[in-house]
């Protein structure tokens, strides 16, 4: 059945497809829609926090916004975006005709719209949607939760299933579909980081499913997992959640490392400084990520021995991550660097992620965390690793590979405008959060004491600038797909890898007979 056929016509092309490129595109568009939605929630938050006092929303609704913003961004925007990139790129990078299990691939995607429809629908149910934070600590999320929590739980179940199937598919593709000669240590780093990410997913998504299942039983079937009266413990919830939750944050950054490791050598015109050590560093980060979870729980009162263990383990993660940062920098060093849009985003990634990482390191110091915990300092930390981290890497990837996908170059002027608007906007938004956090402003509050007013105002202005620039991004992408300078097969003169050997736009079916590497 090798015969080549183009895409089917009409909507059914997307509904019934088994083509990794179609599925990749659907993931990416879905994720962008979720990004805008989660962003709108964020803007509600920022607007309410523009000045002290309750102006726009009821505190209960504010909590729903905070919760939904976190959930939608993490599970709806970042994770699907990376899976979308994996779908588009991994088969092309390893010289495979498609993903290993193409039908299951499409199933993994189509679960998501249903899951998120159900999750967002909870906002309109009586009692309102989830209002207990994206970390949904019991008993606020069990005994004291709105009825809609049941639907939230099932939404998490099925999106977990989607992630697990996606991860299995990626592992099978990488381990089993590589073209002859594409040995593991020849794989592009994006493939490596995704392989390791997929293992993280398979290891922790089921644990998330397990913990929400316990919630379900505590709520509806009278069990006592998180209730001291029956011999359970609310803190048990946090241990299980964070056993998932910390690896989850690396799930949101490892593929980003892969992307940046592909882009920087191209525009520095110099091979990546230490390929092997990059691979080992990624693996070490993944392994360490399983033994640091309680750094989110320094204040719950775990015994001092445990506290110390988790502090040390957490600090250790700085080492392999440092190895990565140093490798990127030495790759640029004595290169011949140009600053096209993907490179700008990658450079900003390295700088701002490092800033976020360093604030993470401060949080890792348990005694100091007693002052930082649950303040805006934490909010600043994770937005620095997530927005200019995960999100910027995704922007970089789109600018870098879009010509390959649609056959048109992006107009550099537009791309750079988007970059500078975003770069400035996000720093205005998130940098002041360090200050209000240190000054003592707790997170998840709809109203605050007067001394925090100035910086919150600045943050809100920044948020709208940043938000607006993402609408601009939408415009840039659509414009590029519609028309633009015809892209060559190579696209970037010094880009390396199999995906650059096929023409732009990449034909509907690539490598139906494997290339020789």
């Amino acid at each position: 059945m090798g015969e080549h056929h183009g895409p089917a016509k009409g909507i059914t092309r997307w509904l019934y497809t088994t083509n990794h490129k179609d599925i990749g595109s659907m993931y990416l568009w879905f994720s962008f829609a979720m990004f805008l939605l989660g962003g709108m929630f964020a803007l509600v938050i920022r607007a309410e926090l523009f000045q002290p006092g309750l102006q726009l929303v009821d505190p209960g609704f504010f909590n729903q916004m905070t919760t939904m913003h976190g959930l939608v961004m993490v599970f709806g925007a970042v994770m699907p975006a990376f899976v979308g990139l994996a779908n588009w790129l991994i088969p092309m990078m390893v010289g495979a005709p498609d993903m290993a299990l193409p039908r299951m691939n499409n199933w993994s995607f189509w679960i998501l719209p249903f899951a998120f429809a159900m999750m967002v629908a909870t906002l309109f149910m009586d009692g309102g949607g989830p209002n207990f934070g994206w970390t949904f600590y019991a008993p606020l999320s069990t005994t004291y939760a709105p009825p809609s929590v049941t639907f939230f739980i099932f939404a998490v179940h099925i999106m977990g299933a989607s992630s697990i199937m996606g991860a299995i598919n990626i592992i099978a593709t990488i381990l089993n579909m590589r073209a002859p000669g594409m040995t593991l240590m020849k794989m592009p780093l994006f493939v490596w980081t995704w392989l390791i990410t997929a293992y993280l997913l398979i290891a922790v998504m089921p644990v998330l499913a397990g913990v929400v299942t316990m919630m379900l039983f505590d709520i509806h079937f009278g069990t006592a997992f998180f209730d001291a009266r029956g011999g359970g413990d609310p803190v048990l919830f946090q241990h299980i959640f964070w056993f998932f939750g910390h690896p989850e944050v690396y799930i949101m950054i490892l593929p980003a490392f892969g992307i940046v490791s592909a882009i920087i050598p191209t525009f520095a015109r110099k091979p990546l400084f230490g390929y092997a050590s990059m691979v080992y560093a990624t693996a070490s980060i993944a392994i360490l990520s399983f033994i640091v979870w309680a750094h989110h729980m320094f204040t719950v009162g775990i015994p001092v021995a445990g506290e110390l263990f988790f502090m040390y383990a957490t600090m250790l993660i700085a080492v392999p991550t440092g190895v990565k940062v140093f490798n990127w920098i030495t790759t640029m060093f004595r290169g011949s660097i140009t600053f096209e849009t993907p490179m700008l985003f990658s450079i900003a990634f390295v700088i701002l992620f490092t800033i976020g990482g360093l604030s993470g390191l401060m949080l890792a110091i348990a005694p100091a965390d007693f002052q930082y915990h649950d303040t805006y300092f934490v909010v600043a930390h994770f937005h620095y690793v997530l927005v200019p981290g995960a999100i910027f890497s995704i922007f970089a990837a789109v600018y870098y590979w879009l010509p390959k996908w649609c056959g048109h170059y992006v107009d550099e002027a537009l791309g750079k405008t988007h970059f500078w608007l975003s770069f400035i906007g996000l720093n205005i938004t998130f940098f002041p959060m360090h200050f209000v956090g240190l000054a003592g402003m707790p997170r998840r509050i709809p109203d605050y004491a007067l001394q925090f007013a100035d910086f919150n105002q600045i943050s809100t202005i920044g948020a709208f600038i940043f938000g607006f620039s993402q609408v601009f991004f939408l415009f840039v992408v659509v414009k590029t797909i519609r028309n633009g300078k015809k892209a060559t097969a190579k696209v970037w003169d010094s880009a390396e890898g199999l995906e650059w050997t096929v023409d732009s736009p990449a034909p509907y079916h690539t490598f139906t007979t494997p290339p020789k590497v």
């Binding site: 039908r103 159900m118 089921p206 379900l216 009278g222 009266r229 011999g231 413990d233």
Partner: protein
């Protein structure tokens, strides 16, 4: 049978989107049901049937394609990886529940009972003592009969049905292995007999498990609601029971397929996958037997 490399990318398929819709209806119905809506059960039932239908078609299609020789050796390896890592994810799912059990026994209960780093906790539960199995909950210790969470009346000793079930399941692991061996040597008759033996053992296990639950609910006063012991006991054994049910069903399907003339001595992944799954539920049970029943 197409050669390495010329890889078969399946044609378009309606199955994935239908599966997603069906899955959604199932959980949405379950949600409605749990929140007391009267249409809940119907939506749930419809979704469930719909979903089973889709899955049936899906696996049937996969089997048909294989018989038609569309599956390259490479694709078969992908199935192997897929099943392997699926089982691993199941292991992690159980890990969460085992983790809960260990945490409660090692930390939560001692603290509530006034031992260890958070001994002061006991001031909130005067007279509570940490025991395992937990027969008297903190709630009971503090509030007597007005307590909402009450411990079990009795618990199930390991050396009765649980021991029997352990033996049954261990045996079934052996019989399924023999079945596999027979199939590899193309001895269909033997294969069928060993497989049937396995199925009988599996069903027997489920029967005794059901019996055990019935006794627990009707005579021992051991239920989901009986404090943390009941919670951990029933979630662990219950989810395991569900997996045994699924595993038995999977093996049954393989038996039917074999009667229908599926499988070759060197090509019978459907059965292999099911047997791996069966070994997995067996291993989980051993863990359960030790940590839930024996070590009290």
């Amino acid at each position: 049978m197409s050669a390495e490399g010329t890889y078969y990318v399946p044609e378009q398929s309606k199955l994935p989107i239908l599966a997603s819709l069906a899955l959604f209806l199932t959980v949405f119905g379950a949600g409605l049901w749990l929140n007391g809506s009267s249409n809940g059960p119907w939506v749930f039932a419809f979704g469930g049937l719909f979903f089973s239908g889709v899955l049936y078609t899906w696996f049937a299609t996969a089997a048909r394609e294989n018989l038609a020789g569309m599956n390259s050796a490479q694709l078969k390896r992908s199935y192997v990886w897929g099943m392997g890592w699926f089982i691993f994810s199941e292991v992690m799912f159980f890990a969460a529940f085992f983790g809960a059990l260990f945490y409660v026994r090692a930390f939560a209960l001692p603290w509530l009972g006034g031992e260890g780093d958070k001994a002061v906790t006991n001031e909130l539960w005067n007279g509570f003592q940490a025991t395992w199995p937990l027969m008297v909950t903190p709630d009971q210790a503090a509030n007597g009969d007005s307590a909402i969470f009450k411990g079990p009346g009795e618990v199930i000793p390991w050396n009765g049905l649980p021991l029997l079930n352990t033996i049954l399941l261990m045996l079934s692991s052996v019989t399924v292995h023999f079945a596999h061996h027979a199939l590899k040597h193309d001895q269909r008759k033997k294969f069928h007999n060993w497989l049937i033996a396995t199925l009988i053992l599996g069903v027997a296990f489920l029967f005794f498990q059901a019996e055990e639950y019935w006794v627990a609910y009707t005579q021992l006063g051991l239920t989901l609601e009986s404090g943390i012991y009941g919670s951990t006991f029933f979630l662990l054994t219950g989810f395991h029971g569900l997996h045994v049910t699924l595993g038995t069903f999977m093996l049954f399907v393989q038996l039917v397929r074999s009667y229908r003339g599926h499988f070759k001595a060197d090509d019978h992944f459907g059965f292999e996958a099911s047997s791996w799954y069966w070994h997995f539920v067996d291993v989980v049970w051993v863990g359960l037997f030790i940590f839930v029943y024996v070590l009290v």
